[in-house]
């Protein structure tokens, strides 16, 4: 499975078209709307997480480009607030790629950002919200909104 987050800027003539429906239906790509700001007959902005096979995601992106949508990839970055983390290990049960893991000899919970895919599963599982996610350059507050905001 290929999961990527993109920042889309829709020209105003696309705002009344069923673009997302097309992406899902025709390209078989799962869409997770992280942020949407679309008004009829105005330029719209959306942050979408696309998930599917790599080929399908590529096709969906070229379809959108063909409509004049400008696309920017947002790299998700995840970091751990080591002050807040109390080394419980709950997050290691959900991290699919062992970016969060336990060093068995002393049961220390290690975080390896290089392995992290930015899936975000640890964020709400951590009971002290020590895992923070960012899109692009800006960090968003895990205590605040569930949906990331890049305009803050």
């Amino acid at each position: 499975m290929y999961t990527r987050i993109y920042y889309f800027r829709f020209p105003k003539d696309t705002s009344d078209q069923p673009v997302i429906y097309h992406v899902i239906k025709k390209h078989d790509v799962e869409v997770n709307i992280l942020r949407a700001d679309i008004l009829p007959q105005r330029e719209g902005v959306m942050i979408l997480e696309l998930r599917g096979t790599k080929v399908n995601v590529k096709h969906a992106l070229s379809y959108l480009e063909g409509l004049g949508v400008s696309i920017e990839r947002l790299a998700t970055r995840v970091r751990r607030d080591d002050e807040r983390c109390f080394q419980c290990g709950a997050c290691t049960g959900v991290c699919p790629v062992a970016s969060l893991s336990i060093r068995r000899e002393d049961m220390r919970v290690l975080f390896d950002p290089d392995k992290c895919t930015g899936c975000g599963q640890c964020v709400l599982i951590c009971p002290v919200r020590a895992m923070e996610m960012s899109l692009g350059r800006e960090w968003f507050d895990p205590e605040g909104s569930r949906t990331p905001s890049i305009s803050r």
Partner: protein
């Protein structure tokens, strides 16, 4: 043939602590000591074994007394940062429970709920020195005329703040799995359907009550590490069940004993009391607790030599059984297996994740060891031991 058997008293051990001569080790270190030297020699050489645990403990909270305002008030409804506290006490006393969510929390209406802020978070914020909004309502009396009150307070403004946890330090706890076909969000964390993960919550060989399985030293009046300060065991905890089945070593194979603990919040630190948001379940408090065990004799020393291999617990289904109160187990696993990262349930390998911090439990045991080593912490003989097995 005469064999010298060690019998020490609290007074002798305290005299050695005061003289800076006490030999103190952690429960983890004691495992090897007992294995290599035997219980008798260990009892003779070691004076105190320190234990620790740092984990979610829902049955926690604080009695908070706030100063009167003018006109005076007999507060019957009380909120701290919009988290309701129980006000059915005297005029300016309230009990703030750790699991009480903020009044406008959407709870599980948006499932699974995030439970961002609750009583546990207020306690942590007080310890951080943050300003808390205190609000109270009253019906008004001749001696307490005010009907409402609102002011900002910090911990320093509260003359009396007593952490008082009716059930902490569970002696052993279930290993949780989910045998249903949908994800469940529980106080044991998120459990995937069809038994695809397991969680557990005990410090194992470092855990206080697992090192004194038959309650030979821990009782009412035992002086402890609580939330970074000094506290006391003040009773056996609610749901204390000494009759739980035990192994030959006396260690219960299911949740058994519990402790009620109290201490002055003014002495405590935010690092050792953390507000928790448990997804889909609710708010809680992670409590740091450490108990010193005096090496009075070989039997007590032998018990503190317990290792993760000798401590077992039951695998319990939280998908269906737990909420329907069905007492059924899907096998017994040791903490050594749980800490290895995988156990076998119904013939299938399942990965495990802890909820209780071993790293912090060890740190607490080390802090307590330092306090005793420096002569800053003396042991207190209990007025009465906890109720034990019949």
């Amino acid at each position: 043939m005469t064999r010298k058997t060690t019998e020490k008293t609290y007074a002798e051990i305290n005299a050695r602590i005061k003289a800076g001569k006490a030999v103190v080790v952690t429960a983890e270190e004691m495992v090897t000591i007992v294995r290599e030297e035997g219980a008798e020699a260990a009892a003779q050489r070691i004076d105190v074994v320190t234990t620790g645990t740092f984990a979610p403990m829902c049955s926690s909270g604080a009695f908070l007394n706030f100063r009167q305002s003018v006109p005076t008030i007999k507060a019957s409804q009380v909120w701290f940062n919009k988290v309701p506290a129980y006000g059915g006490l005297a005029a300016v006393d309230a009990y703030l429970g750790a699991t009480e969510p903020c009044e406008d929390d959407p709870l599980n209406k948006v499932y699974p709920g995030e439970f961002k802020y609750g009583g546990g978070h207020v306690i942590e914020d007080l310890l951080k020195g943050k300003t808390i909004l205190l609000e109270a309502k009253a019906y008004g009396t001749d001696c307490y005329a005010a009907r409402k009150m609102k002011r900002e307070v910090t911990l320093a403004d509260l003359p009396h703040a007593l952490l008082c946890n009716p059930r902490n330090g569970y002696q052993n706890y279930n290993c949780a799995v989910n045998l249903s076909d949908k994800v469940v969000y529980t106080y044991m964390g998120m459990l995937k359907p069809h038994c695809r993960n397991a969680t557990y919550c005990s410090a194992g060989e470092l855990s206080p009550l697992l090192n004194d399985p038959l309650y030979r030293t821990i009782g009412i009046g035992t002086r402890i590490f609580l939330g970074g300060g000094i506290g006391y065991v003040t009773w056996h905890g609610t749901q204390h069940n000494p009759g739980a089945p035990r192994g030959d070593n006396g260690v219960p194979r299911r949740p058994a004993g519990t402790l009620m603990v109290q201490g002055d919040l003014h002495q405590m630190q935010a690092a050792w009391l953390k507000g928790l948001s448990i997804l889909g379940y609710g708010c809680s408090l992670a409590v740091g607790l450490g108990i010193p065990i005096p090496m009075l004799n070989a039997e007590i020393a032998a018990a503190t030599g317990v290792s993760d291999e000798d401590i077992y617990t039951q695998v319990v289904d939280y998908g269906n059984d737990y909420t329907n109160n069905i007492a059924r187990t899907y096998g017994e696993v040791s903490y050594a297996e749980l800490k290895s990262g995988a156990i076998v349930v119904n013939g299938v390998t399942v990965s495990t994740a802890p909820l209780s911090s071993v790293v912090k439990a060890r740190e607490i045991a080390e802090i307590l060891k330092d306090w005793i080593g420096q002569g800053r912490f003396l042991l207190h003989e209990p007025a009465q031991l906890l109720p034990g097995p019949q």
